[in-house]
Symmetry: C2
Subunit: 204 residues, 2 copies
DNA sequence: GCTAATTTTGGACAGTCGTCAAGATTTTCT
DNA sequence: AGAAAATCTTGACGACTGTCCAAAATTAGC
């Protein structure tokens, strides 16, 4: 077996955990590039500095690796707009900052976003991810809601929709823009920015 | 080669086309059940009455079969709420009819819907479907817009959002409800019905 | 009813997949 | 330094994939 399951020095445990992180990172890279349907363990290993056999040294099987990777992915995924909320000093600023931030991450991180949608969709067929996916989805909803709530505070009007509706709507817009952008429609991000800002005013 | 490419009797051509329909139907069945990532030609053949070899008699390769299946899928997909629009005699009727219809198809056709989202997502990675997916998405947008426009007519107020925003929002709601429903949350359909009706009033 | 064309079968192929384990390598501890 | 433990590589396995093809079964034309 391995050190990690025994009572061993801190260093050893950390190193084991660190390798798992490292391999999970490679897994995310492969998933973002190839999509779930075509991501194999050998592809993942090739993105790392190791051979394919090592994956079963740090993970019991493919499902455990991917599940771990999804959980890791979560961290990057659910605080994206908090800076915008913190920085905005007025309703107008928040509205435009939110739209601009969504457009920016659409342009910059398209591969990562399609990975998220791919995983979320995969959970419609595979039970193994479903729990984590639902959890991340909830946190994303909270993240969006923090924006809407703050906007409502600024305008001193109550929000007109539930957190669920707000999240679904913004997420739907983003997903559509992602598809268009990957299809080569360069104006997709601009449209998204405008649509997001407009939608926000309808929700409070 | 085959009859279909020569000048042959009408009957023969029809039969060839008919087999293609039949096999595409089996492909959709397999896709809905297993998801794109796990649908193999042998699985598809098993859903039909034929052996796996026959698929390459009617289709050049897997991509052509799946593309054909996606196009076939389109037909069922883009007229779902037209009956509701036609039947409704008032704004209230339309609002509740729309919500009820969405909730109903969520309950009844969950497998088919997750197939659609799976294919749409796959087109983020594979170029081959992208054109058809974008086309279907557009038609779905039109379908939703016919509901919103009719609602605006009934209430004699102008719609407050663009077709893009309306579609993205309703689609986002539906997608989220689908995930929850497949995760065993039985109240997802009821929530969807209420959210859809509420959202409609915010859009006009 | 016989021949020819069409349709279908089922096996073979070259790859790829997840998984595993034996052995080589590196690190850790005394 | 040497022994022990941890880490990594490599090759193999059985199963599965898309594709192709020769032969069997079916149908159509005369």
């Amino acid at each position: 077996m391995t050190q990690a399951k025994e009572r061993i020095s801190r260093r050893a445990v950390d190193k084991f955990a660190q390798r798992r992180e490292q391999l999970a990172e490679s897994a995310l890279q492969a998933l973002a590039e190839l999509g779930y349907a075509r991501t194999s363990l050998r592809e993942i290993a090739q993105k790392s500095d190791f051979s394919h056999g090592v994956l079963h040294y740090y993970f019991a099987d493919k499902v455990e690796l991917l599940t771990y990777a999804v959980r890791k992915f979560e961290e990057v995924c659910v605080t994206r707009y908090d800076d915008v909320v913190a920085a905005a000093g007025s309703a107008e600023e928040l509205k435009h900052g939110f739209g601009a931030a969504m457009a920016a991450t659409l342009r910059t991180d398209a591969a990562m976003h399609r990975l998220w949608y791919d995983l979320r969709n995969q959970s419609l067929f595979e039970e193994s991810f479903r729990g984590d996916v639902l959890d991340i989805d909830e946190q994303r909803q909270d993240m969006v809601w923090r924006v809407v709530r703050r906007y409502a505070e600024f305008t001193e009007r109550p929000a007109q929709v539930s957190p669920e509706v707000a999240y679904a709507a913004f997420d739907g817009l983003f997903q559509r823009a992602l598809l268009q952008q990957l299809a080569g429609q360069d104006e997709a991000a601009d449209r998204l920015e405008a649509d997001v800002a407009a939608l926000l005013t309808h929700f409070v």
